[in-house]
């Protein structure tokens, strides 16, 4: 057994688990944050994407003990007090989801790509950056539209702040 301590969505949290416990199961079962999903057993689908020390990772392919000591952001940590994150709002506006199962991972991947590309996102880049997230409903078209719209809005508000 191991004691795993993480800063999760700004709060220090810890729990005991077996060394073999995957981070995604620790998040869902020990921390009770069930927004992060398990969509496959093969590390391919991306429904479990969270941000570990600010970078998107697949929480199904990391042991909780490997992540201990890190800062974690899950889908629950994106929204502010009562306000959706701009990426979440754009997914709603542009119908970027249907069943919604893959959406937490796709939104976390979208926030990561917007952070990294800092405004310089085009459709081709968004589609290639979505390589690690599988959606079986939407055909991706509205996901791409939503990410581009959120990116435009976030760069506009960054510029307004400067």
């Amino acid at each position: 057994m191991a004691k795993v301590t993480l800063t999760v969505n700004g709060r220090k949290m810890s729990g005991d688990c077996e060394d073999r416990t995957l981070l995604v199961h620790f998040i869902r079962e020990k921390l009770g944050l069930t927004g992060t999903h398990v969509g496959c057993d093969t590390s391919q689908c991306g429904a479990c994407v969270v941000h570990l020390d600010g970078k998107s990772v697949k929480s199904c392919s990391i042991l909780a003990v490997q992540a201990s000591g890190s800062t974690l952001t899950t889908i629950e940590g994106l929204a502010g007090q009562g306000d959706m994150h701009p990426v979440q709002a754009a997914f709603k506006t542009h119908h970027g989801l249907q069943c919604g199962f893959c959406t937490p991972g796709v939104v976390m991947a979208a926030v990561d790509m917007i952070n990294r590309h800092g405004g310089a996102l085009d459709e081709e880049t968004v589609r290639s950056e979505l390589d690690g997230n599988i959606c079986r409903c939407t055909g991706y078209h509205n996901i791409v539209k939503a990410i581009l719209a959120a990116n435009a809005e976030m760069s506009a508000s960054r510029q307004a702040a400067e």
């Binding site: 077996e18 073999r20 093969t42 697949k58 990391i62 490997q66 991947a109 990561d112 690690g132």
Partner: protein, 265 residues
């Protein structure tokens, strides 16, 4: 996944002693191959020694044309290194083609090289760049390092600490992905350094990564796609499977070599 005991090493020597004291021990770096393999119960290390937090295995150092990449450097860090891009952009582009963004944030160059997956990208680069694999015990030339499918010259417990090479005058990489797994069905890395051309092929060989001597001779004489057009790739020794037979891969070797050459400029 079977039970395992996790250990986080703070130094290379601590990692080696944890490994030596373990039962059926394995090293884990980014874990992007090993953890999925453990999930499938195809690997069951009794002890797992984490190399990801060892300071000596981090960072990219460039001294003139000499490049040294720490084994624990992630694919995302290599892809985004502006310093490396000024001397050897082909390696940055290759790193940006591995897996997907989330995998690139965890997976490391040392892990990829030590695992020597026959469809991995980095072994082709290391072989074509005549890189030196720096381990916890010695330095191994890439020509001697990659010995077969998932096989390397590493001894039990030996750790890849860094990868070092001289930046070539020109280099390029191109791969044809399996549309489902996204691994290379064939990837070709070409490099030209002081008149010496090396061409390494991954994803296609039944014994893993290999050098394509006919292409090296042709490109040494004439660095152009015309020179490649005259080369016949022997399908003997290439993989035949449900994704493509050896003749198909032989053609892919040629097409990817041409694309790699075009990328090298």
């Amino acid at each position: 996944m079977y039970a395992t005991n996790y250990h986080r090493a703070a130094s290379v020597s601590e990692a080696a002693s944890l490994f030596a004291g373990g039962a059926e021990a394995q090293y884990v770096s980014g874990g992007m191959t090993l953890i999925p393999t453990m999930k499938q119960r195809l690997a069951a290390p009794g002890d797992l020694v984490d190399l990801r937090h060892i300071p000596d295995m981090k960072g990219i150092a460039i001294d003139g044309r000499r490049v040294r990449i720490g084994a624990a450097v992630t694919h995302a860090e290599v892809a985004a290194s502006s310093q490396l891009a000024t001397v050897c952009p082909a390696v940055c582009r290759l790193a940006g083609m591995i897996g997907d963004p989330h995998v690139r944030h965890m997976g490391t160059i040392g892990g990829s090289v030590a695992n020597n997956d026959p469809a991995a990208d980095y072994p082709a680069a290391m072989l074509a760049l005549a890189a030196t694999i720096v381990t916890s015990q010695r330095e191994i030339a890439a020509d001697d390092f990659f010995t077969g499918l998932f096989e390397t010259a590493l001894e039990e417990g030996e750790i890849v600490v860094a990868l070092a090479f001289d930046a070539p005058e020109k280099a390029g990489y191109a791969k044809f992905r399996n549309p489902a797994s996204r691994y290379a069905m064939t990837g070709v890395f070409v490099a030209k350094a002081s008149g010496n051309v090396r061409v390494a092929v991954t994803g296609a060989g039944s014994d893993g990564v290999f050098r394509q001597g006919d292409m090296e001779a042709a490109l040494s004489a004439n660095w152009s796609t015309d020179a490649l057009s005259g080369v016949t790739v022997d399908p003997g020794g290439l993989i035949s499977d449900l994704h493509g037979d050896a003749e198909y891969r032989a053609n892919l070797v040629k097409v990817m070599a041409k694309r790699a050459l075009a990328a090298a400029g």
